[in-house]
């Protein structure tokens, strides 16, 4: 980013940070949800967008973050910060231990193995005494949406800075090389196992923090909501809709899709989900590289951009 870019980003961040002082409570709540979704989408971007590994199991990190925080606060009476750290540590441990074998799989097989991990974890947690089994845990109540908003914003800024660093570092180029051709990357001297595990662990770290913040904000978690499988889908769609493998894509995707869904939910809740599904189909058919890519190329190609996308992927 050039100096102008940094200045503009700082200005946007300042405006976003001032939201709790000027906006209505509903808008602040919408803000917290959207910031957390953008965080998990951006975290997915590291492993899905840059390394090209379509993880359908990042919800496990979110769930571990939620439960780590909740168990620390409810069962062990530890402060929130320690809980967050515990949740993040759990998620990173999980990413390392299960990431090493699972990251050897490619394509569909990796996607499905991560999905199966997510489904199995829901089952395991709903049988654990310390996690409150099926009924879940109730966290201490803390009234302060402004605090949660700023926490979520700070986390989003942190993960985005990390992705900016990735997009211009040796580490990031290694991940992109893995995405484009893993065997060639290995031949060129990229330690693919280490790079993939690092990307997975980083994604786990940020996703778990988002889960921990969400758990304390919502004050109630149970296995089905904490390990919600549809969260995976949301983060992936937001990243891809905006443009996976770019810094801005997941942010734009999260903001746009969360807003549309919010507006529609206030009208009819079913219609919102229906529309969501249609948007995904149409977006993937006509702009498979995401919105950021459309903006970049539309000026030069015009409407041909869409027809060329269509031509290159149809049978």
């Amino acid at each position: 980013m050039r100096p102008l870019g940094w200045a503009a980003s700082t200005a946007v961040l300042a405006v976003l940070a001032s939201v709790p002082w000027i906006a209505s409570p509903t808008l602040i709540q919408f803000g917290i949800t959207t910031l957390l979704l953008a965080t998990v989408a951006q975290a997915w971007n590291i492993v899905g967008g840059y390394a090209g590994y379509a993880s359908f199991g990042n919800s496990v990190f979110y769930g571990l973050g939620s439960y780590g925080t909740a168990i620390a606060m409810v069962q062990l009476n530890l402060p929130f910060g320690v809980g967050l750290a515990l949740g993040a540590a759990l998620a990173m441990l999980f990413a390392l231990l299960l990431g090493l074998p699972v990251l050897r799989l490619r394509g569909h097989y990796f996607a499905i193995a991560t999905l199966a991990l997510a489904l199995a974890m829901t089952g395991i947690v709903s049988n654990l005494e310390i996690a409150g089994r099926n009924t879940g845990l109730v966290l201490p109540l803390l009234k302060g949406d402004a605090l949660f908003y700023e926490l979520a914003l700070g986390l989003l800024a942190l993960v985005t800075l990390t992705v900016i660093w990735i997009s211009r570092s040796r580490f990031g180029f290694g991940l992109i090389a893995i995405r484009e051709d893993e065997d060639a990357a290995a031949v060129m001297g990229v330690n693919t196992t280490l790079f993939k595990a690092a990307a997975f662990t980083l994604a786990g770290f940020f996703t778990a923090l988002a889960g921990g913040i969400h758990a304390y904000w919502i004050t109630f978690i149970d296995p089905v909501s904490a390990f919600d499988i549809t969260l995976n889908v949301k983060m992936i769609i937001m990243a891809i809709f905006g443009g996976a493998g770019s810094v801005l894509g997941p942010l734009v995707g999260a903001l746009l899709l969360a807003s549309i869904s919010e507006v529609l939910t206030t009208e009819v809740s079913t219609a919102a989900s229906l529309f969501y599904g249609l948007v995904i189909v149409v977006a993937v058919v006509f702009m498979p590289r995401g919105l950021v890519n459309v903006v970049r190329h539309f000026k030069r190609l015009g409407w041909r951009y869409f027809s060329e996308n269509l031509r290159s992927h149809r049978l």
Binding site: V233, I237, S273, I280
Partner: protein, 287 residues
């Protein structure tokens, strides 16, 4: 011992239905390289088709089976022909996303049209049992098991011994070569996807008889179909049967010896293990 036999019998009957559920997913995945995340939603549509044929026209669910299959075949054919053929050459992400979008659309359309209430197809003989070699078998489950086996065998015959089957396998093997030999992939892909949807329709029809359902059953069924396809491998319909039986028995045994809340842990844990040890499936060819 008697209890174990009974549990094994239940597992085998469940496994037959599981195999039929997974068959369409495995077929489409193997030939088109599309993992159809809307597969479970197709099964759900099949169950509703059977439900309305039964309640409105008083058609027996086993007699309605061909109609359910036909309806889903047409739906699947048109979907592939006019939507999915547009993205079939796109990266894997994109096909996953599009079928996920379809899954969402179908699920919520079903909720609007059919309501979220639980339904069950309940013919007069639904509660009937019969005894065989000391174990009690529910009649409808046994019938569903038999139908599932017949359909699997029919699919195997179709793939192995007909012109269409050869064209389908040719497309799975090498699309360019298949084209050179005069196969029109657009039609073959649409037919294959239609066939996969028809199998889902049949599975849905049987599912509606043995279990209650609502618009949201799809996702869990898709996940189980995945697990079975992986365990059985994608090359052969008979592998899917083994995968289905394996999962059915595993779930029944887990439910008896560990506890009913652990069945999902067992089935998805085994899936992860199989993937790690043998990524092409237990019965698939090693690469």
């Amino acid at each position: 011992m008697a209890l174990l036999l009974q549990v094994l019998a239940n597992g085998i009957l469940l496994g037959g239905l599981y195999a039929l559920m997974a068959l369409g997913l495995a077929l489409v995945w193997g030939v088109l390289n599309i993992v159809n995340l809307a597969h479970g939603a197709f099964i759900m549509l099949g169950a509703y088709a059977s439900y309305y044929l039964f309640t409105l026209l008083h058609l027996d669910p086993f007699a309605a089976l061909p109609l359910c299959m036909l309806a889903l075949f047409l739906f699947g054919y048109l979907l592939q022909r006019h939507v999915l053929n547009l993205i079939v050459r796109a990266p894997m992400f994109n096909t996953l996303l599009v079928t996920f979008g379809l899954d969402v659309v179908l699920t919520y359309l079903a909720q609007i049209v059919f309501s979220a209430d639980f339904r069950v197809v309940n013919p007069g003989y639904a509660g009937a049992n019969f005894a065989l070699a000391g174990v009690t078998l529910p009649l409808v489950r046994a019938l569903a098991f038999a139908v599932a086996l017949v359909l699997t065998f029919a699919l195997w015959l179709l793939l192995a011994h007909t012109r269409l089957g050869r064209a389908v396998r040719a497309c799975a093997h090498n699309l360019v070569a298949a084209r050179l030999y005069g196969v029109e992939p657009r039609t073959v892909y649409a037919l294959t996807f239609g066939l996969g949807a028809a199998l889902a329709g049949a599975a849905g029809d049987l599912y509606g008889v043995v279990s209650q359902f609502n618009p949201y059953i799809g996702d869990a069924l898709t996940a189980k179909s995945f697990a079975i396809s992986i365990i059985g491998g994608l090359e052969n319909p008979l592998g899917v049967v083994v995968g289905g039986l394996f999962l059915g028995i595993l779930e029944s045994l887990t439910s008896l010896y560990v506890g009913p809340t652990y069945t999902d842990v067992a089935s998805f844990g085994v899936l992860v293990l199989v993937l790690i040890v043998r990524p092409k499936g237990l019965l698939g060819r090693a690469t």
